[in-house]
């Protein structure tokens, strides 16, 4: 066989390579080789369909009447009346603005503090001391919100240590938990307390991945230690900062972790500053039984959340070249 013929034969056989197969054929081949992997995902996929996607479509209850015991997708014609109901009501807008204010304030304090704490941790040279501080600072992350809020209430109660200090300094005791004007402070401060340490993990991981030669080069160029942080460390962890910021901005309207804490700390006395969308949904839907109404409110929140996340993701891709998808 001549070389030419050989080449032609090779070309022909290439046509049998997976690239030339139709989608269906490729899939069949994959199924044949990897069928066990396909079997593995069956139950999880069913789980996702039932417990994640069915409720997603269950959002249609925002538009169709639900009767107790009836279809989870509602009955009868589609209607916008539930949306009209909450859009025109004052409690919803109060909850909506509280959600934005609480999440915004929390982000405003927590985000820079976490970054600074991570930078400071990164400067500790004594590894035992560093590990100790880290371990201690991770602790609140693992504690149930019930306990966290229980502790907040104990510490802030009129017979608690904080009021005792106030009394000793000659001040008047304050019933913090019952006062609307204190709610934001309590929410943000306890949130920072709980998340400060855990929030540093990804930053520290990113910092440990920085090539040491960059610092050496900076030193050769005469950069002071502080300048190294500004010109080496921060630029190197910028993608991590961007990713975390996208997630946080995407969560600005969301209930996220805020629901549990607000629910456990608020009372009708403080609704004016404490009631957020998700607690409003809970009260209307579960406690008062207005299922359709509450679904509409919850869905509104979910959609805004998704839109915000998409925008943040887009901006981050353009500006910092980092994105979630």
């Amino acid at each position: 066989m001549s070389v030419k013929e050989e080449n032609i034969r090779l070309k022909q056989s290439e046509e049998w390579s997976p690239r030339k197969l139709t989608l269906g054929q490729r899939f069949n081949k994959d199924l044949h080789v990897n069928w066990q992997l396909y079997v593995m995902v069956i139950i999880p996929v069913i789980y996702y369909l039932v417990f994640r996607y069915v409720p997603m479509f269950g959002n249609i209850l925002a538009f169709r009447k639900y009767t107790s015991g009836g279809s989870i997708f509602g009955e009868g014609p589609l209607t916008l009346k539930y949306f009209r109901q909450f859009i025109t009501g004052k409690p919803f807008w109060q909850a909506f603005s509280n959600t934005l204010i609480l999440n915004g304030l929390y982000l405003l304090f927590r985000f820079p503090l976490t970054l600074i704490f991570a930078l400071l941790l990164n400067e500790i040279r004594n590894l035992h001391w560093k590990k100790f501080v880290q371990t201690v600072s991770y602790l609140p992350h693992f504690i149930s919100m019930v306990i966290v809020c229980g502790m907040i209430k104990e510490l802030l109660s009129t017979s608690g240590p904080i009021n005792e200090v106030i009394a000793k300094l000659g001040g008047e005791k304050i019933s913090f938990i019952a006062m609307a004007e204190w709610f934001r402070t309590i929410f943000v401060a306890s949130g920072v307390w709980q998340s400060l340490g855990w929030g540093t993990i990804l930053y520290l991981a990113a910092m440990s991945g920085i090539n040491p030669s960059l610092y050496e080069a900076a030193t050769v160029d005469g950069a002071s230690h502080f300048q190294q942080v500004i010109h080496v460390t921060i630029p190197c962890i910028l993608p991590t900062i961007a990713t975390l910021l996208i997630l946080d901005i995407g969560g600005l309207v969301g209930s996220g972790g805020a629901f549990e804490k607000v629910y456990l700390l608020y009372s009708p006395l403080t609704y004016e500053t404490s009631d957020i969308v998700s607690t409003y949904v809970f009260r209307m839907g579960i406690e008062s039984g207005s299922i359709n109404f509450a679904t509409a409110v919850g869905m509104f929140e979910g959609v805004i959340n998704l839109v915000l996340l998409t925008i943040a993701n887009f901006v981050s891709r353009k500006v910092a070249d980092t994105s979630l998808w």
Binding site: M40, F51, V146, G197, W325
Partner: protein
């Protein structure tokens, strides 16, 4: 000056300015270190203070608490409340505690299994279905059914008032699946291929090769899932009406929220019953999480690395 000389000079420069040497020289850095240490001590104290306060209260005598004692050293050492909680059946703390242990155990085992059999195939970039499966899974992180639709579904499935109503809604966490997938991706392909050459099928490779190599991520996930089940009270509030099925976190919520009116025992008991119950609930977590710190830090790191 020749090039070689120049290079040598540069090398000397680098050695002289080795970051560690430089740090020792600079007075400014010494001041910073002191300042940094003080901040770290303050953060540690602020983090631990509420726990120490709780522990102190739990051992303080009823008399001292009524008088408003708020110190960090227990006053009038008192273990009666603990004895009451742990031995008297009418308070039923132990029953709730046992429920939590059962839910945490069953939930964690199931969660680990189902998360890993989802994460492992997802970690195979060549698997055709992943083109659809990855977005299918990940989308649920960004948009969901919301409280009401989930609630209605659970009612429809008849899961109200059953242990499964507590466990199933959080059986698979998408975020944790992503973390596991990242870890599985980091397992060297050669090892898995060697297993296949030795005659293992795909499941065999997963079970006998990938799983034993995944101790760090399995330890991490065990902790995360166990903590999630241990701490959850909200599913219990939604789905467990029967008091006998309550987990301890939900029981705590009812006594802390001052729904204590339904809890005559808690009202009449010593003033520090909440502190004792909280300490007992937190204790297992405090004992466990530092032990596997090196694993979960590693696990989170892998998850944070973008592909």
């Amino acid at each position: 000056m020749s090039d070689i000389e120049k290079t040598e000079l540069n090398l000397k420069d680098i050695k002289a300015h080795n970051p560690k040497n430089k740090i020792k020289e600079s007075a400014g850095y010494k001041i910073f270190t002191v300042f940094n240490t003080i901040i770290m001590i303050l953060v540690s104290v602020a983090t631990l203070y509420p726990f120490l306060y709780l522990i102190s209260q739990s051992f303080t005598s009823t008399q001292a608490i009524i008088e408003g004692y708020t110190g960090l050293v227990p006053k009038g050492f008192n273990i009666e409340t603990y004895r009451y909680i742990l031995t008297r059946n009418d308070f039923e703390f132990l029953r709730y505690y046992l429920n939590t242990i059962i839910y945490t155990f069953i939930g964690t085992v199931l969660s680990l299994f189902f998360s890993s059999i989802l994460a492992y195939p997802l970690s195979k970039p060549k698997l055709r279905i992943n083109k659809f499966l990855s977005p299918f899974i990940i989308f649920t992180m960004y948009f969901g059914g919301g409280l009401m639709a989930n609630y209605v579904l659970m009612l429809k499935l008849g899961l109200k008032n059953s242990m499964w109503g507590f466990i199933l809604p959080m059986l698979i966490s998408t975020y944790y699946v992503i973390l596991m997938r990242s870890f599985f991706m980091s397992i060297p392909k050669d090892l898995e291929e060697a297993g296949e050459i030795d005659g293992l099928n795909k499941w065999g490779v997963f079970w006998h090769i990938a799983r034993p190599l995944s101790t760090p991520i399995i330890a991490t996930m065990t902790l995360f899932y166990a903590v999630m089940y241990w701490n959850n009270w909200f599913n219990a509030k939604l789905y467990l009406q029967d008091k006998a099925k309550w987990p301890v976190a939900y029981f705590l919520q009812t006594i802390i929220r001052g729904a204590g009116a339904n809890e005559p025992d808690a009202q009449n008991m010593t003033a520090n019953i909440k502190s004792c119950a909280m300490v007992l609930t937190v204790l297992p977590i405090i004992c466990v999480y530092p032990a596997i710190q090196k694993y979960y830090v590693q696990g989170m790191m892998l998850g944070g690395v973008k592909e």
